[in-house]
C-alpha cells in the first residue's frame, strides 16, 4: 500500500458531511495502521454520509418530510407541467392572438430547444431547482439533507422509468432518470447548502 487514503473520499468527508473531525482522524489512522484497503475507506465514507443524513432527518423529522414533499412537488409539477407550459408558451400566446406579430416575423422558440437532448437539460434544471428548494426549506443547511433527499428522487424516477419503458429507449431513460436528473438535484442542493453554510467558528 502506498500513499494515503483516497483523496476524493477524504475531500467528500470534509466538505459534504458534518461528521466530527475525530471520525476523519480515526479513518486515516485505521487506514494506515490497520492496513485497510481503499474500498474499506470508501465504504466507511459512504457509511458516514448515510449516518450524517439519518441524524439530520432524525433531528427534525417533520421539517425534513415537509422539505422533501415540497421538493418532490416542485420536481413533478415543474418537470411535467410548468416546463411544458413554458416551452409551449409561444404557441399559446399565438393562439390567444397576443403574438401574431412575432410569429409573422419568424420569432418563435426554436424547435430543438423543445426536443431531446435539450429537453433533458431543461428537466435537469427543474430537478436542480427541487434540490435547491429542499435545502432552502430544511432546518439544517448542510449537504446531508440533499443526500437524504436523493433516495426519494431515485425512487420517484424509478417509478417513472418503469412507466416509460417501451415509449423511450432504455439507455435514454437510464441516463436521464437515474443519472442526470438525480445528479442535477444533488447539484442544486449543493449550491443551496453553500449559500446557507455558516462561517466556521461564528455562532449563529
Amino acid at each position: 500500500m502506498t500513499g494515503g487514503p483516497p483523496r476524493f473520499a477524504t475531500w467528500i468527508l470534509k466538505h459534504w458531511t458534518s461528521v466530527d473531525e475525530c471520525v476523519a482522524g480515526d479513518l486515516v489512522e485505521q487506514y494506515h495502521r490497520g492496513g485497510r484497503s481503499s474500498l474499506w475507506y470508501w465504504r466507511q465514507v459512504c457509511s458516514a454520509i448515510a449516518h450524517d443524513a439519518i441524524r439530520d432527518v432524525d433531528a427534525h423529522p417533520v421539517r425534513a418530510a415537509l422539505s422533501f414533499g415540497v421538493g418532490l412537488v416542485v420536481m413533478w409539477w415543474g418537470a411535467n407541467y410548468i416546463l411544458y407550459s413554458l416551452l409551449n408558451l409561444p404557441e399559446w400566446l399565438f393562439v390567444t392572438g397576443l403574438t401574431k406579430g412575432l410569429y409573422a416575423r419568424g420569432l418563435t422558440l426554436p424547435q430543438p430547444l423543445r426536443e431531446f437532448p435539450m429537453l433533458a437539460g431543461w428537466k435537469a434544471l427543474v430537478y436542480a431547482v427541487s434540490g435547491w428548494v429542499v435545502v432552502r426549506t430544511a432546518s439544517t443547511p448542510g449537504t446531508s439533507i440533499v443526500f437524504a433527499y436523493l433516495p426519494f428522487v431515485l425512487g420517484f424516477n424509478a417509478i417513472t422509468f418503469v412507466n416509460s419503458v417501451g415509449r423511450y429507449p432504455i439507455a435514454q431513460l437510464t441516463i436521464d432518470l437515474l443519472i442526470l436528473y438525480p445528479l442535477a438535484a444533488f447539484a442544486g442542493g449543493l449550491v443551496a447548502s453553500r449559500a446557507r453554510r455558516p462561517i466556521r467558528g461564528v455562532e449563529s
Binding site: D20, E21, C22, G25, D26, L27, Q30, S47
Partner: protein
C-alpha cells in the same frame, strides 16, 4: 420521553469503553466490538451511537492531542458515566434473568 433501555449495539459500545478503560476512542472501540462481538462495524456508526449516548448522559468525552498518523486530527476519548455503568448493569441483570431457565438456547434441549 427519553429511552431508559439500551440497544444491543449501544450495550456493546458501553462494554467496549469499559474494557478499554482510558484508551477508548473510535478505532479501539470499533476493533473491540469487531473482535469480541464478532461483527463488522463502521466507525461512523460507532460515533452516531456515542453521540446519542452522550446526549443521554451515559458517556462523556475529552479531546486528546493531534497526532501526525491521524493527519493532525485529535482523538476523542470516551468514558462511561455512573449513570451509564448503572444502565449496563441493569441491562445485564435483565438479560440474565431472561436467560435463566431457557433450556433450548443453553444447549439442554
Amino acid at each position: 420521553m427519553p429511552r431508559s433501555t439500551l440497544t444491543d449495539f449501544e450495550l456493546l459500545i458501553l462494554l467496549a469503553i469499559l474494557r478499554l478503560d482510558n484508551e477508548a476512542y473510535g478505532v479501539p472501540i470499533a476493533d473491540e466490538i469487531e473482535r469480541t462481538g464478532r461483527r463488522t462495524v463502521a466507525i461512523a456508526a460507532v460515533y452516531a451511537s456515542l453521540e446519542r449516548l452522550a446526549a443521554r448522559g451515559l458517556v462523556t468525552s475529552s479531546l486528546g492531542d493531534p497526532t501526525p498518523e491521524r493527519g493532525g486530527r485529535a482523538k476523542k476519548f470516551f468514558t462511561v458515566t455512573g449513570k451509564g455503568a448503572r444502565l449496563v448493569r441493569e441491562t445485564y441483570e435483565a438479560l440474565n434473568a431472561m436467560w435463566r431457565g431457557l433450556s433450548t438456547v443453553n444447549g439442554r434441549a
